[in-house]
């Protein structure tokens, strides 16, 4: 399995995400934002957490205009897999690969803690290893994780079973407690929680591991 992790100048979870992919034996390339092509044969692109361009205006807005982002969009349109975590989720909504937007947290403060979540669908390469309805805990760390989408988009997301994760506690004011959503072809996942921070027993939580191990099986089939 070949994974590419995009690196914007303000990415700061790029190494963490690369380690997540490596934990399932993936061959990982770090791809600079000024590059225009992804490495040949890339199966999955990771868009990491961080503050891609400082995010002083709208999170992810400038990253969505980076040269590499055109290659990312093309990869997704070809049916390639994409995993966007935290700032990566913000970038994916800015590119239009995922619906909705991430606004400032309802409490207006940055929030870093481990939160309770429910896996809402197991029909995706990212979540099938959890089982539908699985209750898990993952760390979050964001200032802008308040998911919003217009009513039509929301009813499509719900109707098409594309809500991947919901918070089961109040975290950031997200509509319907949405923590992660899938694209129409179910191959692009954006989520605010950080599975890559919970893959190792030493971190005190391994609930993120199944997201990566799920991918191994899916890639074998893809």
């Amino acid at each position: 399995m070949k994974a590419a992790v995009l690196v914007f100048p303000g990415s700061n979870c790029d190494r963490d995400l690369a380690e997540g992919f490596r934990s399932i034996g993936a061959d990982v390339s770090m791809v600079w934002h000024k590059d225009t092509v992804l490495p040949e044969g890339t199966d999955i692109v990771g868009v990491p957490g961080g503050f891609s361009f400082g995010d002083y205006l709208r999170c992810g807005a400038i990253a969505a205009q980076s040269p590499i982002t055109r290659a990312l969009v093309a990869h997704a349109k070809r049916g390639g897999f994409v995993l966007g975590i935290c700032n990566g989720f913000q970038v994916l909504t800015e590119t239009g690969l995922l619906p909705g937007a991430l606004m400032r947290n309802a409490g207006l403060k940055f929030v870093c803690r481990t939160v309770d979540l429910r896996v809402e669908t197991d029909d995706s390469a990212f979540t099938h290893g959890y089982g539908k309805g699985a209750e898990i805990r993952l760390p979050v760390a964001h200032h802008d994780g308040n998911y919003v989408a217009d009513p039509d988009a929301l009813s499509r997301l719900t109707g098409e079973d594309r809500i991947a994760l919901r918070y089961t506690e109040a975290v950031n004011g997200s509509v319907d407690n949405i923590a992660g959503v899938l694209s129409e072809n179910r191959r692009v996942l954006g989520l605010m929680p950080h599975p890559e921070r919970a893959i190792d027993a030493a971190q005190g939580n391994t609930d993120g591991k199944a997201m990566f191990t799920s991918l191994t099986g899916a890639m074998a089939l893809a």
Partner: protein, 719 residues
């Protein structure tokens, strides 16, 4: 531009005393130019010159087999084996944070991170020790909100996990909050970078953000007391940009790998002046700067402004001339400014050119070498008043008085605004004693703590100074980390007052003795004086930041208990209630002497904890609030009740030192007993964990009710 005339008022406005100005006249044999006056004021202020504290700082232990580089560089460097080193320092940003809390705190974090990566280390952990005024003081809420958001705003975006720190409240900080920022980084021992320039005729290169007028005169401001003109000082506060700092970090580390860097120094206090002088002074060289080449973001900047600007996210570097193209390419990649602004020269000269004019021409060595040094008058702090009678109090009410105070309530309101897990190596997050970060890709881990008990220091500076080090030693030992070394951030009032100077001298003596006895040499530090408003000083607050190592193959000791485990108390209990947290919180009193510090007992008991790590289920050190608060905190963190046999207030709330509370399975506890006897360590069963109440000798309350108070009191008071 016509430069202003040098008048007595102008000299005074630069914080230079008349005898200091006389010294300048003698040195130059002429009157200084305006730019030169600015340079002297920047180099000779307390913040940069340590002129009041130097004599005493020299007495601190700074050496040991683990120390690779002690004080004097941007940060201290300590060996952690396998060719790796931890690089760390703590520094204050008190005055700017009081004037503009968000930017003051943010740039404090930015400054300390730069100190660390200037030496070639990637920052892996941050902490901050914050002291605010009374919760009910009209400024406190906005200061807390702004400082915490600023610390988080910078560190989170930069991408360093914040894993610990302290937050305290006391009326003495009403007009002068303290923001002490700590950062630690990881480097290879064979690629540490220093500031000493070498080689004549080598390019001096400016890197990073552009220079603006922000922070002009900041270091001088930081060395003055506050009065009611404080609002006028707002323009001297710098503005931070963590995105540029993150790029500067990556660009610097990338550049260092190319072998192009001869020496490097970040531009912190007094910006271009301080960094250029330091590189020249340490390398025994002169420096010529051409200010026309300095990247600026404002028009018509004068030489004076450029030399004193404290714009953030900037570095100065001496480059290998053969590798200039390589270096430029790295900075182009990260879209950062890169400009050759001068060169090293053989003469002892600091020559500043701007618009074809010589703006300053000074003997470089003299700027730092002959900076004034004072042997300030000091008087020893008188022995504290004897402890008056302590009124009777119900044990549960006593506990509630602590956990309902923002000083001892849970601080998740603060910690949750900091990203504590970025880099995915965090093994222990803030709020549970020392923070722990895994050394990426190895089996090792590092533990970090910051400690001081200002109540103790004001009552007895020497004991208080020693206690701060001892508590840091205990916090590291409680998680199973071997204490390696420490950094000190000494926050005091006006050193020109002999009583304040006496506090500084006493605290340094105590710190020195403890660092020596506990083998935790001071490798870096910072002194912040003149922390006074309208003549009233803060509680003396010598913050100790310390780092410990957990070796590969060793697991950290946890901080929680399982229901059914026994509670063991390590160390001797005498019920010392003088200067205690209970006195302060229940009755607003601070009388009596602080608990004595027995450094031999600290060492013995800490070693015992670390050596018996596999028998210990959970451990915590005892400090403020004694056994009672430690037992409650451990129970609350574990979601299980606790029952202690003791009922009397001194046993429960006394703050005798060198003690730990352990949670152990019965069999392990039985095995610990003979081990303790053999090590000469006092250990005793004091209760057990389990149930859903907190019970002190029969007086009990529901854990859920107490937890609710503990979890909400901070936000209720200042949130």
């Amino acid at each position: 531009m016509q430069e202003p005339e040098i008048t007595d008022d102008l000299i005074a406005a630069h914080g230079l005393k008349s005898d200091e100005f006389a010294e300048i006249l003698k040195l130059l044999d002429r009157e200084p130019t305006f730019t030169e006056l600015g340079i002297f004021s920047a180099m000779w202020n307390e913040h940069c010159s340590y002129k009041s504290s130097k004599k005493w700082l020299r007495t601190l232990p700074t050496e040991g087999p683990q120390v690779i580089c002690g004080p004097g560089e941007n940060a201290g460097v300590v060996d952690i084996g396998d060719g790796q080193a931890v690089v760390f320092k703590m520094e204050s940003h008190n005055h700017p944070s009081y004037i503009e809390p968000y930017q003051g705190a943010a740039t404090g974090v930015g400054g300390i991170l730069r100190d660390v990566f200037t030496m070639g280390a990637r920052p892996i952990a941050a902490m901050n020790s914050l002291s605010f005024g009374r919760p009910e003081h009209p400024k406190t809420r906005s200061l807390v909100a702004g400082v915490v958001e600023g610390v988080g705003g910078y560190g989170n975006a930069f991408g360093v996990p914040t894993v610990g720190g302290e937050v305290r409240f006391d009326a003495s900080y009403d007009g002068n909050c303290l923001v002490n920022a700590f950062a630690a980084g990881l480097a290879d021992t064979d690629s540490i970078f220093y500031s000493a320039a070498s080689g004549v005729g080598r390019p001096v290169v400016y890197l990073g953000a552009k220079t603006g007028r922000d922070g002009v005169g900041g270091a001088t401001m930081a060395s003055a007391e506050f009065d009611d003109t404080i609002e006028e000082k707002r323009p001297t506060v710098q503005v931070g940009d963590p995105f540029t700092e993150k790029r500067l970090l990556e660009a610097c580390l990338e550049l260092m790998q190319t072998g192009a860097v001869v020496s490097i120094q970040d531009m912190g206090a007094a910006g271009l002046t301080c960094s250029a002088v330091e590189m020249g002074d340490k390398g025994g060289l002169g420096v010529r700067l051409n200010l026309d080449a300095v990247p600026v973001r404002e028009e018509n900047m004068t030489a004076y402004e450029m030399m004193l600007s404290e714009s953030q996210e900037r570095m100065l570097m001496v480059l290998d001339p053969d590798k200039e193209d390589v270096a430029r390419a790295v900075f182009d990649k990260w879209d950062l400014d890169f400009a050759v602004v001068g060169e090293t020269i053989a003469e002892d000269r600091f020559l500043i050119l701007h618009g074809n004019e010589v703006k300053a021409d000074l003997p470089l060595k003299a700027l730092s070498g002959t900076a004034p040094e004072y042997d300030r008058k000091w008087v020893p702090t008188p022995a504290p008043a004897a402890l008056a009678d302590v009124p009777a109090i119900d044990a549960m009410d006593a506990l509630r008085s602590l956990i309902g105070s923002p000083n001892y309530a849970a601080k998740q309101w603060v910690w949750e605004q900091y990203d504590s897990q970025v880099m995915a190596d965090t093994l222990r997050t803030p709020g549970q004693g020392a923070g722990i970060i895994r050394v990426h890709g190895t089996g090792k881990a590092l533990a970090f703590t910051s400690d001081v008990t200002p109540r103790y220091v004001v009552a007895d500076p020497e004991t208080g100074g020693a206690q701060a080090v001892a508590e840091a030693y205990r916090n590291l030992s409680a998680v199973g980390a071997k204490p390696l070394s420490s950094t000190d951030n000494l926050n005091f009032g006006n050193p020109e007052k002999p009583a304040i100077m006496g506090q500084l001298v006493g605290a340094i003596k105590g710190i020195g003795a403890a660092c020596l006895a506990l083998d935790m040499p001071i490798v870096s530090g910072n002194v912040s004086l003149y922390n006074e408003t309208d003549g009233a000083g803060i509680l003396p607050t010598p913050t100790i930041g310390a780092v410990g190592l957990i070796a590969a193959g060793e697991a950290p000791i946890g901080g929680t208990a399982q229901p059914g485990q026994v509670a063991l108390l390590v160390g001797e209990t005498h019920g010392h209630i003088g200067c205690s947290a209970l006195l302060a919180e229940a009755w607003g009193r601070r009388d009596g002497a602080p608990p004595p510090v027995d450094l031999e007992a600290e060492r013995r008991n800490g070693t015992f904890i670390r050596e018996n790590r596999t028998l210990i289920g959970g451990a915590t050190d005892l400090s403020d609030g004694g056994l009672a608060l430690a037992a409650f905190e451990m129970a609350e963190a574990s979601g299980t009740g606790v029952s202690l046999d003791a009922a009397d207030i001194p046993t429960l709330f006394g703050e005798d030192q060198a003690r730990y509370l352990l949670a152990c399975n019965f069999d392990a506890a039985e095995a610990l007993m003979p081990a303790a006897a053999q090590a000469g360590v006092t250990i005793a069963y004091v209760g057990k964990f389990g149930g859903d109440t907190v019970n002190f000798g029969g007086d009990s309350a529901s854990l859920a009710d107490l937890a609710s108070l503990y979890r909400t009191a901070f936000a209720a008071a200042v949130g």
